[in-house]
Symmetry: C2
Subunit: 422 residues, 2 copies
């Protein structure tokens, strides 16, 4: 019986585990720091109160109820003892014959302590709920301040990062400002919240087509979002965001979606750590310099795919396809046969939603860009389809339908359970 | 324009506010420490993962969107400056002409510091999520302990209090143990969680009929709950629950539903504080010794209702009816006319759910007790009906229907947002 340990239950890890469900003679342990899988592309809808955490997450133990060759282990990877084929977790150790790192990425603060400490990050469900709570709390506080000048930092929202996450949060907040805010907060009598979206690049949605970039910028600007390009956040202290061009924005709410980086684990050859701290892998996902440690998803960098000589984009589709492809190769590897199928990414296109009935999509074949209502409908259906369970699909569809017709979202409760007693 | 300040947005406060929606010449401020109303009778379903917080809660600002004479204020009452008709909140002050205290109750630890500190209380949505998180976390931890003896405290759940909350949690956990636990935790290979329900009285559900009490005890025992009566919890330290008969139960999870008490506010005449720290009120809810301060719901004690000479039970129906009745009287009072309608409680009966298709209900007219499937159906429909919004009803019904058919509940995610940055 081969022991396979998978660290991380995101798109890559879960798709690998599921694709091995009928493989005998393998004993899989999936390790994750949370007891649930979740769907990051819809995280921003949790942050803005359109969806519940439970609409986009699912407990691992329930997910694997009927898969007999897997067990779930809640824990955090601390280091790898590669000589002894052992991983050291926050709460114990596990032996492996094969190790797969599907550890994704973490928020990148580019070494700025003030960002790490004071900004709201946007990588986990806990983060998203924290953003929702903080925004609601700050706006409640704003209602108590009579001086409009002093009130401004409480109702100015700065979003750093013009990728899909930043664009989608900005768009969603602009819709809320239009349809919810003035009804909920008569105290402000028409003075609105301010939404700023900042990126260091000259365009939004850098990897997408020019048409998509142009549409996105124009649409957000029309919706009243202040789009600031070619400028970086340098510091965030005392409620002041400092930009590289000298601008200062006073705000109590800085959402940080400006970049990601990988976690490095002791025990992985330093020589394999590449751009963005990603682990360089061969065409079969084997980490350079190792014989039984694989890396898949956002945390790996593969330079051997002919169409992607600089590596793949860090998106869900790559992670999902790598998980499935590795499962195929491992089945041979378990029998000491050579792995036969080098990974090739099949790009199904990319898309971003900007607002109510506004979205943009790049379709690779035939090379084509869609915008507006049709792209929006496509976005909704594709995202519904990829949710992990029937339950999540039904509840998400219900929440979306109600939001669509009422132009409202109901999840505006500030809920803060305490820290766990130790 | 009369200024009415209502402290507390539970059944009593919200029903008062809504009943005044067409009353001109009154300027209402509703103060609550949360930004949402919630439905306490279903709190235990949040604690056990059958319902989401959002299924039983609703933001105040959304609730009052169309009511022009009310504004919401998030804050906590600290004291009352009765001489100047002013309340001092955690975050500011408010002037009033009339003040209504609808502050409900808090968990009663009977002066035991160890309970206050180490037990899981069960009064708020935050509490319920905390219970859900802690139970899941403890059972995950149990999977890592190979010694069954050492593992026991992690999977023993003690519930103090045999009222509806304690009975309902115990029953729900027993159902989960039967239908979910063995599938989710193959690690335990049949060794089950232990559920103990403790009450100082000789019966469960003290205020209900003997038939209901008997049925409840028998049903819970059959479901494998250890019901311990005539015994009190004396201490809870170092994971040990000490009982008054000398028994010691080792557990990491003590749910405290053993009693409630009222909050006392500086500025209320001490002479009006009565049994259970409730404020004594006249038939029109006016607090003894005051001329413009009212109390309604669980926090007040009225001794003038002929059928309830010792005061009303602290239940939702009383609070709701008192809120509506006070609205009626205030309309006259605002015009300096005498209040005409002394409060009379109309008892619609009481009920408790014990498990899947198992419930009990006392119907007052004709005096009658129902048990089993019919009582269970009635319980479900009545609770659905009383949920505050269409949205909450639909989502609760969906969650219940899925749980019923799958014998499962999906909400098993441990989600812990951080404390707010200050």
């Amino acid at each position: 019986m081969k022991k396979l340990v998978i660290i991380g239950g995101g798109f890559a890890g879960v798709n690998l585990a599921r694709a091995l469900r009928k493989t005998p003679d393998v004993d899989i342990t999936l390790v994750d720091k949370n007891n649930y899988n979740f769907f990051p592309p819809l995280l921003y809808q949790v942050a803005t109160g359109f969806l519940e955490p439970s609409n986009i997450s699912y407990p691992f133990r329930k997910l694997f109820t009927h898969q007999k060759n897997i067990r779930f282990r809640m824990g955090t990877l601390e280091r790898i003892d590669a000589n002894n084929n052992r991983v050291i977790l926050s709460n114990g150790e596990l032996d492996y014959d094969y190790l797969v790192l599907a550890t994704g990425t973490v928020s990148n603060d580019f070494g700025m302590a003030s960002i790490r400490k004071n900004a709201l990050h946007m990588k986990t469900i806990d983060d998203a709920i924290e953003i929702r709570n903080t925004m609601l709390q700050r706006i409640e506080e704003a209602t108590l301040i009579p001086d409009p000048e002093a009130r401004n930092p409480y109702k100015t929202i700065v979003i750093a990062g013009g990728g899909p996450t930043g664009v989608e949060i900005a768009g969603m907040l602009a819709e809320m400002r239009k349809n919810v805010f003035h009804k909920d907060y008569p105290e402000f009598k028409g003075t609105a919240i301010r939404i700023c979206l900042i990126d260091a690049a000259p365009v939004l949605l850098t990897p997408m087509s020019q048409k998509a970039q142009h549409y996105t910028r124009e649409t957000l600007t029309k919706m009243g979002v202040e789009v600031m390009l070619n400028v970086q956040v340098k510091d965030y202290n005392n409620d002041k965001v400092m930009l590289s061009d000298g601008t200062v924005i006073e705000t109590k709410i800085l959402v940080w979606a400006a970049g990601v980086t990988s976690s490095i684990f002791n025990g992985i050859p330093e020589s394999s750590i590449d751009r963005g701290r990603r682990m360089r892998v061969n065409p079969f996902q084997l980490v350079d310099g190792t014989t039984n440690i694989f890396a898949i998803g956002d945390t790996c960098l593969m330079l051997s795919d002919p169409k992607f000589p600089n590596g793949h984009p860090q998106v869900a589709q790559v992670a999902l396809q790598q998980g499935k492809n590795l499962a195929h190769n491992l089945k041979a590897f378990f029998k000491n046969q050579p792995m036969k199928k080098p990974f090739r990414y099949y790009d199904k296109g990319s898309m971003a939603i900007i607002g109510r009935m506004k979205a943009t999509a790049d379709i690779p074949k035939p090379k084509w860009n869609m915008t507006g209502f049709a792209a929006w409908m496509m976005w909704l259906f594709i995202h519904l389809f990829f949710l992990i369970s029937y339950r999540n699909r039904v509840l998400t569809m219900y929440n979306w339908t109600v939001s669509y017709f009422t132009k409202d979202q109901a999840l505006r409760m500030i809920i803060r359970p305490k820290e766990s007693p130790e």
